[in-house]
Amino acid sequence: MPRETSPKIISNGRRYMGNMAVASVLYTGAVFGGAFAIRNDDLPQWGAILAALAPLVPALLMLRAYMIFINGVDEFQRRIQSEAMLYSAAIVGFGSFAYGFLEEWADFPHLPLIWVFPALMGVWGAAACVMRLRYK
């Protein structure tokens, strides 16, 4: 199998996958744990707030994993990721802004804000794939 890149970059990618896998397992646990805890009617308000914010901790670990990954890639890959993030911010930002007006003035169904971040990540990933194809 031909080498596609330097061992340093391969090892950076593997470390990213490992860090992301750990953060994903913790995120799943936090979401299910939070959802289970919130079912308890006796849960005080501060407990509900803690349960609701618990998934943010592993989400921050995901962000940390990504920052470590970005610091380990070369300048060209960093440019692809930066441009993809810019496209994602523009598309999701303007998309949600437009939908906000549609909700308010054209009776479109309400969408929870929780979907903005996953949309940002999803479009970012898709944009990065398109950018890679463009530079292939």
Binding site: R3, E4, T5, S6, E75, F76, R79, Y135, K136
Partner: protein, 71 residues
């Protein structure tokens, strides 16, 4: 910007992956530089020049400058 990276690499019988490993970048980055889709930063350009043992201007040249010289 134009460059002679592909020629210089071929003279040494290096694959894109070989060059990528020597420069500590991805093969895709080498390909993007060779095809002119991406202009490397000054530090990377100097790294390339050092690797090939050539002055930077013998590897990279601005297209406009080449046109002016021809005129």
């Amino acid at each position: 910007m134009r460059n002679r990276l592909k020629v210089l690499r071929a003279e040494r019988n290096w694959s894109q992956a070989d060059l990528a490993e020597k420069l500590d970048v991805s093969r895709q980055s080498v390909n993007a530089i060779e095809t002119g889709k991406y202009d490397p930063s000054l530090p990377l350009a100097f790294k390339i020049a050092t690797l090939f043992g050539l002055p930077i201007e013998q590897i990279f040249s601005a297209h406009d400058v080449v046109v002016q010289a021809a005129e």
